[in-house]
Amino acid sequence: MAVEDMTFEVREGEVLSLIGPNGAGKTSAFNAITGYIPASSGSITYRGVPLTGLKPDQIAGHGVVRTFQKTSVFNGLPVLDNVLIGLHRRARQHPLAIMLGLPGVRRDEARLRDLAWEILDLVSLRGRAGEVAASLSYGELRLLEVAIALAAEPTLLLLDEPVSGMNPAETGAFMALIARIRTRGTTILLVEHDMKMVMGVSDRVVCLNQGRIIADGPPAAIQRDPQVIRAYLGERYVRARG
């Protein structure tokens, strides 16, 4: 049992952070929301549509798109192709039309390419478009992951520890990216252990422990919550904050 009786709500347009000790069930919650593992009980509803029981790709079809805790891109392919794959949902090409080589397909391809460049601009990866993903640096890989997810036109974007392994300066740059994504009207559900990031970008923070929610509130309040401090933040964090 990784997640137990968890109830929370993400509001349209906000950045909600999910924090909690290792093994609290954050990734499991992501997996349940995006259909990678079945929830044994309970329900998940997005904009009134029940997601429970749907397959990951169907859930993505409703605009709920995630990234993975362990860096996950299409390693062997060029960066641009990575994003083009992400654009899958936006393509309009029937298999028969493809095989017959109808002109509509070519037009659609051109449109997708434009979209891909747009997204690469957003994450500032235009310069690397031709490189094979495997040759990117770690930080760039994490940007590419987000680019792939953004290409799928999420209305709710779930990010699983996007800045782990980045140094504070790089984290700062990533926070700026999140701000840019927000302006597109995308709701964000964030899992992250970097408190600077969490406190800096979230509208609201939910803290889990052992599969249950132990606190829910604005960042400032969460930081002072004794339960959160005991289970998650630790004394030193509090000391550092003063």
Partner: protein
């Protein structure tokens, strides 16, 4: 009734040999993830070595089995060092292609050396079968069954309990991390392939006297071994064992009561059905996503 009992007994004995074929492959295919097309050739090699020692040189039967297995281990080690070592880290299709090449070359070398004529190997056991009521079974097959069970148990202990076994599992789960633990990666690769090959040769050495030996005997053995390994779940020794018995019962009863023409089809249909119900084989391991 006698017929059913006889079928069940046949299947039991056959299952032991299938399991033996399966565990050798489960090491190489299931753990190393090398689609080992030479498995059947090592099986044939074991049988031919047995023929050489028993029939041409006149060595003692049990000693010959040991020699055949030892030579199989050596040959396996040779194949690994010569063919696979330089392909570390290559993907599954690439190594598979090399193994296909080796399979073709080995099979034809066998034919060149031993000619296409089938050879038979005398067994020291009485040729009159052991009769129990309405059913009977040959002594040679009983012997094979007993040795097979011992080898299977031995392999299981080797993998689960010994240092080498742990090193093997660690190596194939994460080569670099295993190297950091002090495992000699190259040796583990060689040892695993050699042991798997030795088991195939053991199957050949044991079954050679039961059947006859000719260059293509390995083909069907290979195919069945792959099926058994998949049935049981990759890399699982208990899985390969049970898979072997299931396949044997299915074939035997299918041939006995449905149609002998579809005897082999039974086995394959079973595989399709089992994998559709449980796509990771009977003994799957846990994975996580995310």
């Amino acid at each position: 009734m006698d017929q059913l009992l006889q079928h069940a007994l046949n299947a039991m004995i056959l299952g032991g040999t299938y399991a033996l074929l399966g565990i050798g492959l489960t090491l190489i295919f299931g753990i190393m993830r090398v689609v080992n097309f030479t498995h059947g050739e090592l099986y044939a090699f074991g049988a031919y070595m047995m023929y050489m020692w028993v029939m041409l040189i006149g060595a003692n039967f049990v000693v010959s089995i040991a020699l055949a297995v030892a030579l199989g281990v050596l040959l396996g080690a040779g194949i690994e060092i010569l063919l696979l070592r330089r392909l570390r880290g290559a993907d599954i299709d690439t190594t598979m292609l090399v193994m296909i090449g080796a399979w073709i070359a080995m099979q034809n070398t066998e034919q060149l050396v031993w000619s296409g004529v089938a050879k038979s190997i005398d067994s020291p056991f009485p040729s009159a079968p052991l009769v129990m009521g309405g059913v009977s079974v040959s002594w040679t097959r009983l012997f094979v069954f007993a040795v097979a069970v011992m080898l299977i148990a031995g392999t299981w202990v080797l993998i689960q309990k010994t240092r080498l076994g742990k090193a093997m599992r660690a190596t194939f789960q994460d080569r670099e991390a295993a190297a950091l633990m002090g495992v000699r990666i190259d040796r583990v690769h060689t040892a695993t392939f050699a042991i798997g090959s030795g088991l195939a040769a053991a199957a050949g050495a044991l079954l050679g006297p039961v059947f006859v030996v000719y260059p293509t005997i390995g083909d069907l053995a290979s195919l069945k071994a792959f099926a058994i390994v998949i049935l049981g779940g990759l890399g699982s020794i208990p899985g390969a064992t049970i898979g072997g018995f299931i396949l044997a019962f299915m074939e035997e009863l299918g041939a006995g009561y449905v149609s002998s023409g579809y005897r082999d089809a039974m086995g394959f249909l079973l595989i399709i059905v089992i994998l559709l119900v449980k796509p990771t084989g009977l003994f799957a391991r846990k994975e996580r996503i995310g």
